[in-house]
């Protein structure tokens, strides 16, 4: 998709949940449960998303065209398993990058002001 005129910065800042979910989908094709697990793993267990919140966000991200459903690799029926998987769209990727950049800049600013100390610790 051509991205002329799409201003990803207009959507910043992202809510932490949106950001985590978009990050989880970067370069991956995941179904809902896998997204939950990935977010939990990536945040070392600090962020947990329940299914209700997850699908509300997914609904919103789908409507925003930041993510899309991807075709399953095969048509094998898998009972009791989430069937739909999601991937980032170009727009979604742009937004998540913009947010990451914003965070990086914010971090750099904080470092420069010495809030985080020399070592950049927590």
């Amino acid at each position: 998709m051509e991205m002329t005129g799409f201003d990803a910065d207009a959507f910043l800042p992202l809510s932490p949940t949106d950001f985590q979910i978009l990050l989880a989908l970067e370069g991956e094709r995941l179904h809902g449960y896998a997204i939950m697990k990935e977010v939990e793993r990536a945040s070392a267990g600090r962020v947990r998303i329940e299914a209700g919140s997850l699908y509300r966000v997914i609904a919103r991200l789908l409507a925003s065209r930041w993510i899309e459903e991807s075709e399953p690799e095969d048509d094998r029926p898998r009972p009791g398993q989430p069937r739909r998987s999601y991937t980032l769209t170009d727009m979604g990727r742009a937004v998540v990058r913009a947010e990451a950049t914003r965070l990086r800049d914010a971090l750099a600013l904080a470092r420069a002001r010495g809030i985080l100390g020399e070592a950049g610790g927590r």
């Binding site: 939950m36 329940e50 509300r56 009791g80």
Partner: protein, 940 residues
């Protein structure tokens, strides 16, 4: 790899009943979402939830820990679901439009593509704004209204406390009773395909006994000749003395054919269960231990299998232990032994000691199974006209047999709790209504300033949620405490007590009633508010003089409804109380005070001959004589209020009138028994030293037995036979006063006493007159017994007082519960009436002031208010009394010597309703009469 891409684990392939239940509960919760959202994501969400459950199940946890973890996952998911569903509904109601569901949702195509729209428009459509605008507006409202509601709750602590407590009580009572109802009645029985399992009894039509035991012969026939059953097994209850390891102990046991444990789906924890081969007489005796007994007595040692234990002096081999989850039917035996009957014993038609359990063939209904056995019963009657006259069968589903007796009482209690909740709700609705009316101006102002109906609804629902959610939590807490009290007071007759708890369904139920109440109280005043005539309300605010009577009428109706419901409950409580008082006043026919009783069994090797048993009792008597703590001793086969066999009575020289001879209760007793219980000798003599084995056999009858069989004449000197027609003849030597052998609620039954020394049963009750108290007497009895034979356990040690107390424990419990509900209902209803009157007086202050100023007497004003209160009570009585009468007829079977239309109860009821109403009127009436006319008119 599993479906959810989880590492394989031990529990993965079997999700377990609990998980399956939670998964279906989660699926039902999905209905909280708006339809479009549910269609788009519902199945995905439930799949994700199942993956979460699977993740818990693959963890190597114990069963309890795993269930707890599963429940935790469910609670977190369900809470999240409820909250997001609420937000989603709010969003969808405010921002109507398609829910994007990916390709499947056609609504998506209507949404312009932001990528294309962007260059064309300077103000590109911002998807996030569109999506969150609704949400943010909603959460903005939520934040705003939540803050408002919390401030309001803090500002009116009285209102907050009354509403929260009232509802918490209602919710707590309902949660507690629903958890009982759920555990006992609604949850499935813990057996595989429990619907197929039935209990089979002999129905002895001659005596109207529907739940009689079978002799062995018909059981054999039913077992072999039926068409409708996969299997029929027989069992009997016995008790046995365990000696040799630690203290001797009396154990309860079931002797069973191997089918019984198979039908119940039992499995072994260790070792094996019973096999058909164990039932062949002459085999080395074996037993299977119950899990609880195994834990208690053998510390759960698996090495016990193969060991020999000593039961009634005989060595018996333990072959296995039943698994932990197994729930026995009919009692709680410590061990199971094979029913090893000889061919001769299987041909017996007389000794009714067997019970039968069957499993219906697949697809065969209970009625079909019953019909099959009834056809067989008629055949058996024809084949054995002498032995099997009048005998049919009763077939009961296991569920009916287990919980049938408590089904109606439990539903009645649940209904009572439901009524209390309704009354509580009516009270809260009334309070809300008053506040809603008082806030009419505020609402009018809000509407004028642009708040829509939905906005008002949101505000009021939030307000009531803030009040009611804590009530729900408090209610569940109260339910937990209440359950503990309930189960502690419960007289031990409730089946399946171990299943009672705050099961997820129970919590769902509480959440349901909480949310319904909250929606009700939020919505009703809000709709009233939304209907408010703006200009009218704002204008009217200046004067209460023109207040319409509409709200007052609504509030009055609510109060009348409350009081009517309370009358129903109080009538039930009153009748049960009256009936309990009647019960307490009944003379049992025997002395109850200072009597200690304990059961003994001489089923060991050294008591084979009757003389040995007589010698044992003489020895015991001798050791206790002269002991100051024992002033009398007797032995009896069946003490008062115990299972007492009813046995054929043949009168010599007389043919029985019907097919079957009449029956009497048969009691073996020593000569001291009559004195000990204070039974009066009416005629002839009691037993004496001379009534020994080698002397002529004698019997003493109770008055009712004498009057029934020898009306108008004396039975002394007559010959009777008890049991079989060929049993030894007994001479009636005496008549004693009647006693209520089967408990205080049952009329005295004709009874025949036979001297212990001429019958010598091996198991009996020792009764002791204990003038210094039961503790002392028990000490003496134990030491005397220790000197005689230290291998004998004493069991069922009780005072006769305790026995009599237990006999009326059920009606006492029923009275207690009904009383709690009735009084709670009446207090709530009184608060309701008070609320209406207080409101009316405050609304009419101006009018009352004018009346006073124009010369109306204070007494007149007082009467005005009292009349209003009493007319509310009168209306409630007019509605409630007929209702209570109808309601009471349902309870007829729980009443004792009190009719459902008991005039005294209903008169007292009417009186107390009027009194309570009067008390509720006093404060508002006094306030009205004490008004300062000038001040009242100047106000507003």
């Amino acid at each position: 790899m599993s479906a959810c891409d989880l590492p394989s684990g031990p529990g993965e392939e079997s999700p377990g009943r609990f998980s399956r239940f939670l998964a279906s509960a989660y699926r039902s919760l999905l209905f909280l979402y708006p339809q479009a959202f549910r269609r788009a994501f519902g199945s995905e969400m439930s799949a994700v939830f199942e993956c979460q459950l699977q993740e818990v199940n693959v963890r190597p946890l114990g069963r309890i820990a795993s269930n707890a973890a599963t429940l935790w996952v469910f609670l977190a998911a369900a809470l999240n679901l409820t909250v997001t569903a609420g937000t989603e509904r709010l969003r969808s109601s405010m921002a109507p439009g398609g829910i994007p569901g990916g390709r499947s949702n056609p609504g998506v195509s209507d949404i312009p593509d932001p990528g294309e729209a962007a260059p064309a428009s300077p103000d590109p459509w911002r998807p996030r704004m569109r999506w969150s605008s609704g949400g943010e507006r909603g959460s903005g409202w939520l934040r705003q209204d939540l803050g408002h509601a919390l401030r309001l709750a803090r500002r009116q602590p009285g209102f907050t406390a009354v509403v929260s407590l009232t509802l918490a009580l209602g919710i707590g009572a309902n949660t507690a009773l629903f958890s009982v109802l759920h555990g006992v009645l609604l949850s499935p029985l813990p057996y595989p395909d429990a619907d197929e399992i039935v209990l089979i009894w002999e129905h002895q039509t001659t005596y109207g006994w529907t739940h009689n035991g079978f002799p062995a012969a018909p059981v054999r026939e039913y077992r072999e000749r039926n068409q409708a059953f996969q299997a029929v097994g027989a069992f009997a209850h016995i008790s046995s003395t365990l000696t040799g390891e630690g203290d001797p102990e009396r154990l309860s046991a079931q002797v069973v054919t191997h089918e019984v444990l198979e039908i119940l789906g039992a499995g072994p924890e260790v070792g094996r269960l019973l096999l058909p081969g164990d039932e062949i007489p002459g085999q080395a005796p074996v037993v299977v231990l119950g899990h609880g007994f195994w834990q208690r007595r053998f510390g759960g040692d698996p090495e016990v299998v193969g060991r020999q234990i000593t039961l009634d002096g005989e060595p018996v081999t333990v072959v296995g232990v039943l698994n932990k989850g197994f729930r026995p039917i009919q009692g709680n035996p410590d061990l199971w032994a094979p029913l090893a009957l000889s061919g001769e014993a299987w041909a017996d038609w007389r000794n009714h000691f067997l019970f039968a359990v069957g499993r219906l063939r697949e697809g065969v209904s209970l009625d079909q199974g019953t019909a099959d056995l009834l056809v067989l019963a008629h055949q058996l009657q024809q084949e054995n006209p002498k032995d099997y006259a009048g005998a049919l069968v009763t077939v009961e589903s296991l569920r009916e047999a287990t919980v049938g007796a408590v089904t109606v009482p439990l539903w009645m209690m649940m209904a009572a709790a439901g009524l209390v909740l309704l009354i509580a709700c009516a009270n809260v609705a009334n309070l809300y209504l008053s506040r809603g009316l008082a806030r009419e101006r505020e609402f009018a102002l809000r509407v004028t300033l642009g708040a829509g109906r939905r906005r008002l609804l949101h505000l009021l629902t939030t307000e009531s949620l803030v009040l009611i959610l804590p009530s729900g939590l408090l209610g569940v807490g109260l339910a937990l405490a209440g359950l503990r009290v309930l189960l502690a007071l419960e007289p031990g007759r409730l089946p399946r007590v171990e299943e009672i708890g705050l099961h997820p369904w129970v919590l769902l139920f509480s959440a349901g009633i909480t949310l319904c109440s909250s929606a009700l109280f939020g919505a009703v005043p809000a709709f009233r508010a939304a209907r408010t005539n703006l200009a009218g309300s704002l204008k009217e605010a200046g004067s209460r003089f023109t207040q319409s009577s509409g709200p007052r009428r609504l509030k009055s109706s609510l109060a009348v409804v409350q009081m009517t419901l309370a009358i129903l409950l109080l009538a039930g409580a009153g009748l049960l109380t009256r009936s309990f008082i009647r019960l307490q006043a009944v003379d049992p026919g025997f002395r109850v005070e200072n009597i200690l009783q304990a059961r003994l069994s001489l089923a060991g090797g050294q008591y084979r001959e009757p003389e040995q048993i007589v010698a044992f009792l003489d020895g015991l008597q001798e050791r206790l004589t002269g002991d100051p703590s024992v002033s009398g001793m007797a032995a009896v086969s069946s003490p008062p209020v115990s299972m007492t066999p009813q046995i054929w009575l043949h009168i010599e020289g007389r043919e029985p009138e019907g097919d079957q001879p009449p029956v009497v209760s048969r009691v073996f007793a020593t000569s001291g028994y009559f004195d000990l219980l204070g039974l009066a000798l009416l005629e002839g003599r009691l037993f004496d030293e001379g009534d020994r084995m080698d002397q002529p056999r004698v019997a003493v009858l109770t008055r009712s037995a004498a009057e029934r069989h020898w009306p108008g004449e004396s039975p002394i000197g007559k010959g009777i036979r008890i049991g079989n027609p060929d049993s030894p003849s007994l001479e009636v030597v005496g008549v004693v006063s009647d006693l209520r052998q089967y408990g205080i609620r049952h009329r005295p039954y004709p009874t025949a006493f036979i001297p212990f020394s001429q019958a010598t049963p091996r198991e009996f009750t020792v009764m002791i007159q204990a003038p210094m108290g039961p503790g002392e007497a028990l000490g003496s009895l134990k030491s005397a017994l220790g000197e005689l034979d230290s291998t004998l356990p004493l069991y069922q040690i009780r005072t006769l007082d305790e026995v009599m107390g237990a006999d009326v424990a059920e009606p006492r419990f029923a009275m207690f519960l009904a009383g709690v509900f009735g009084v709670a209902a009446m207090v709530l209803a009184a608060v309701g009436i008070y609320g209406v009157l207080a409101y009316t007086v405050s609304q009419r202050t101006h009018e009352l002031g004018i009346r006073l100023a124009l010369g109306a007497g204070r007494q007149g004003i007082l009467q005005l208010v009292l009349r209003q209160g009493l007319s509310l009570a009168g209306m409630s009585l007019a509605l409630g009394l007929p209702g209570a009468f109808a309601f009471a007829r349902l309870m007829d079977s729980f009443l004792f010597e009190v009719g459902p239309a008991d005039p005294l109860t209903f008169a007292l009821l009417a009186l107390s309703v009027l009194t309570v109403a009067l008390v509720a009127c006093v404060v508002p009436a006094a306030r009205a009469a004490g008004l300062d006319p000038v001040g009242a008119m100047r106000r507003e």
